[in-house]
Subunit: 167 residues, 2 copies
DNA sequence: ACAAAATAGTTGCAAATGGAACAAAATATG
DNA sequence: CATATTTTGTTCCATTTGCAACTATTTTGT
């Protein structure tokens, strides 16, 4: 194992640990505030971003990197809370749309300030503007160089759109 | 939400997605090779790093950022496969050491080439030496600036030691 | 020294995840 | 056109995780 490879492993481990630390912290903040987990926000946000406020389950999966069986059940939970509604896709008889409901949008709005604050607190702390720019750029490279074709990697999702405008 | 904060969120999302993508890929490679998950490797490696080849469960938890109940059960699984043995800690009646067994060391050795190759393939692809250095440095900042005191954060683990020398 | 609080680890139960098998619809191939 | 293959989503089952409660030991405070 040469020196460069050691560096790579150092970065790899750092990525894993940072991620764990940060998501633990954010999930914890959400829970403290009596709010549902990040994954709910993720799904609702992705649907809400769509012009017609609906998204195929398959696309939800590819956006948030979740296997299809888990998408089914995550949407089950959201639907049970009436945050989302399922409707069959007419142009493709196999497909199912998840529509975001007003309550779903309301939840996004309610979660956002807590989520935002949490990420800013835990994530930004100590990072300079330049660091953040660098980090973005590097992670972008990581994400785009994923031709490792294990079915989950069909996505190279479109530019990350903004988080704001919940309404 | 100002422009800087948007940048932060972009980085945050990129971190989450990159992590997901990469761990999916690596876990998949391990499974393809008929090997156990990353978490096993992680625990075994942490124990193996210790001069006396043993580690308190609590310390395992703080090293790999895993809640104590999950440490208990992860060690259960390792012990069931005879990779590890539990022994009471004499200096602290509450404590339990996990000792790595020869079979545990053997597994480390067996997993390492696959793991290594997988990380190099999926992670390093596209990154320059400078990128890797930057990434390390930035993630290091993220990890060290975690005073968010929710009990899990008692750790500021010692410098990440090397991955090599399994024997 | 003693009671109160904190720490280490385990356990039980509910929830989430992963994998394989499945049904239904769409696409490809001969 | 007929049939094989792929895609989409769901379901079943086993494994893993998260949370709260619990025991045992140690530490703290008086």
């Amino acid at each position: 194992m040469n020196e460069k490879d050691e560096k790579i492993f150092e970065a790899w481990v750092a990525l894993i640990r940072s991620h764990q630390m940060l998501t633990d912290a954010v999930e914890n903040d959400l829970k403290q505030a009596g709010l549902p987990p990040l994954s709910w926000y993720d799904v609702l946000l992705e649907i809400n971003r769509e012009p017609d406020c609906r998204l195929r389950l398959q696309d939800i999966g590819s956006r948030i990197l979740l296997a299809k069986n888990n998408v089914t059940r995550l949407v089950d939970r959201l639907e049970k809370e009436k945050l989302v509604t399922r409707k069959k896709c007419k142009s493709d008889g196999r497909g199912v749309y998840a529509y975001i409901e007003p309550e779903g949008k309301a939840l996004l709005k309610k979660m956002w300030p807590i989520y935002r604050q949490s990420v800013l607190t835990h994530f930004k702390a100590g990072l300079s503007d330049k660091d953040i720019g660098n980090l973005c750029a590097i992670l972008q490279i990581l994400r785009s160089s994923a031709p490792s074709g294990t079915e989950k990697s069909e996505l190279v999702h479109g530019t990350e759109r903004n988080i704001k405008n919940v309404n």
